[in-house]
């Protein structure tokens, strides 16, 4: 699939004009909003959505949805009733009563931001036709937090940047693009740590630019980072070939033969192997397969895969087993 872009994501924040925002909402209002949105979504002919009330979901299922990036940790920890509608292909999710009444999110693998925007926009049009949106002529879509007002749009890419990280360029890159109104985050979004050399980059400004310009801006900066990462990989390969080959094959070896492995260690090793595939060092595995692993090795996903709850120690053993099976 894609050597640098792991996923592309669009998110739209929307609110209803006739209900208090979530910070001022009680459980009764929250329940009503959920029912109204559920009713509207059921009328949609184009997509088939499954609907989940968060508090009714078992702990493990919630964690699985977070690890699949279909819901945010904030939706789970919401004090009021919250819910989510997820389309059957698991590309689209509509979160209800997160920070805003509605968060429409579309996520695709690889470089697919245009398609994500088209889907999000279409669903937004549909919902707007049936629900009274909070919208102001001057300020656009009114959101709970002033950082989202205007378009309510966040366009983001999950980038795999092992070579730039290894060469120590990331600090400088982050400083520069932050000045250009781009935010850099870790694997699980705001406040999370960078693991496996995976960086999430997205626009910060939402007011005063049309949606297409905001997306084009993030795309343009992303393209430059992709180019730099590819150059960095070539540089590593031409100047430190034996070091890189050793690093990649060692990681591959551990993944193939380990009997006990934590998710953090697995992520680091998978990152090396992913880079190795894109450099043509490892030929017997595809990036597609590696990206499947990237998802499956997470704590809740492991338990979901084997269909039962496990202790952390048991998980580490089963994780190693699963990795061996997939790489074989």
């Amino acid at each position: 699939m894609d050597d640098v872009v792991v996923t592309s994501r669009i998110r739209l924040a929307r609110n209803l004009s006739d209900v208090p925002f979530t910070i001022k909402m009680n459980d009764y209002d929250a329940g009503l909003v959920i029912e109204r949105v559920r009713d509207v979504i059921s009328k949609n002919k184009q997509y088939k959505f499954d609907f989940y009330e968060i508090k009714k979901l078992p702990f493990l299922k919630r964690q699985v949805l977070i690890e699949k990036h279909l819901i945010s940790p904030a939706l789970v920890s919401a004090k009021i009733k919250s819910a989510v509608a997820i389309d059957q292909n698991e590309n689209i999710s509509i979160m209800i009563n997160e920070e805003d009444h509605l968060r429409i999110q579309v996520l695709y693998r690889g470089q697919n931001i245009q398609r994500a925007w088209e889907d999000a926009n279409r669903i937004d049009d549909f919902l707007e036709g049936h629900l009274p949106y909070a919208y102001d002529e001057t300020w656009g879509y009114l959101t709970s937090c002033p950082t989202n007002v205007g378009t309510g749009l966040r366009a983001s890419f999950m980038l795999h940047l092992p070579a730039l990280t290894l060469l120590g360029y990331m600090k400088e890159i982050i400083e520069t693009i932050t000045k250009l109104g781009i935010a850099v985050r870790g694997f699980y979004g705001e406040g999370s740590e960078v693991v496996g050399n995976l960086y999430q980059i997205s626009n910060q400004i939402t007011l005063g630019q049309p949606e297409e310009d905001i997306i084009a801006n993030v795309v343009s900066i992303t393209n430059q980072i992709i180019e730099q990462e590819r150059q960095a990989r070539l540089k590593l390969l031409s100047e430190n070939r034996s070091f890189i080959e050793d690093k990649v094959y060692r990681s591959y070896g551990i993944l193939k033969y380990a009997r006990n492995i934590s998710s953090n260690e697995a992520l680091k090793l998978i990152s090396d192997v992913r880079m190795g595939i894109s450099m043509g060092i490892i030929k017997e595995v595809t990036i597609d397969k590696i990206d499947v692993l990237l998802n499956l090795i997470q704590p809740a996903m492991i338990q979901d895969y084997f269909g039962r709850e496990m202790t952390p120690e048991e998980r580490d053993i089963k994780r190693a087993e699963l990795i061996r099976k997939i790489l074989d």
Partner: protein
């Protein structure tokens, strides 16, 4: 390492937050992490907390704040401006109207802008689209006058009048 919460079981859930280079760590056992609803820890460096800082006037809060300012209250949800500054969140759609005057400098600082130019919902769209078109034509009119292109200015003026008529009819 033992769980920071109960101190009885070994810590297996390690939660690290890094915001603007500041690292916060939590080490919990699975039971305590579950009770806490996983990731629901205090985030001292969250966007909201920084916003609260941005929302304070640059000279410090006590110096220039006349007492009546504290009492601006949203007609919709009863949120006070003070409350908004503290939480960094609006209470309802009407807050934007109630705090209107005070929002321009805030939005300018966050977004560098104070006017939405993006998507217009189709339901309420037509009028807004016409108003936007009028604004654009007015700028063109000024340019035409400045360049002494009077014929073109007259054309633009007629277009503006036509659109304004359309607006008042609705």
């Amino acid at each position: 390492m033992m769980c920071e919460n109960c101190g009885k079981r070994p810590a297996t859930v390690h939660y690290t937050q890094i915001i603007n280079g500041v690292k916060t760590e939590m080490h919990l056992c699975e039971v305590c992490a579950k009770q806490k609803g996983t990731i629901e820890f205090d985030a001292p460096f969250s966007v909201t907390n920084f916003l609260a800082g941005i929302l304070e006037p640059a000279f410090g809060p006590q110096m220039i704040k006349p007492s009546f300012e504290m009492q601006i209250t949203c007609r919709g949800c009863g949120m006070t401006f003070e409350e908004f500054k503290r939480s960094g969140r609006f209470g309802c759609a009407m807050c934007y109207n109630s705090f209107s005057e005070k929002l321009y400098p805030i939005f300018r600082r966050i977004h560098g802008n104070t006017k939405h130019v993006g998507k217009i919902p189709t339901k309420m769209g037509e009028n807004i689209a016409i108003k936007r078109e009028i604004d654009k034509l007015k700028i063109e009119l000024n340019i035409a006058i400045k360049n002494e292109e009077f014929e073109r200015a007259a054309e633009i003026r007629d277009k503006i009048r036509e659109l304004e008529k359309k607006l008042s009819r609705e």
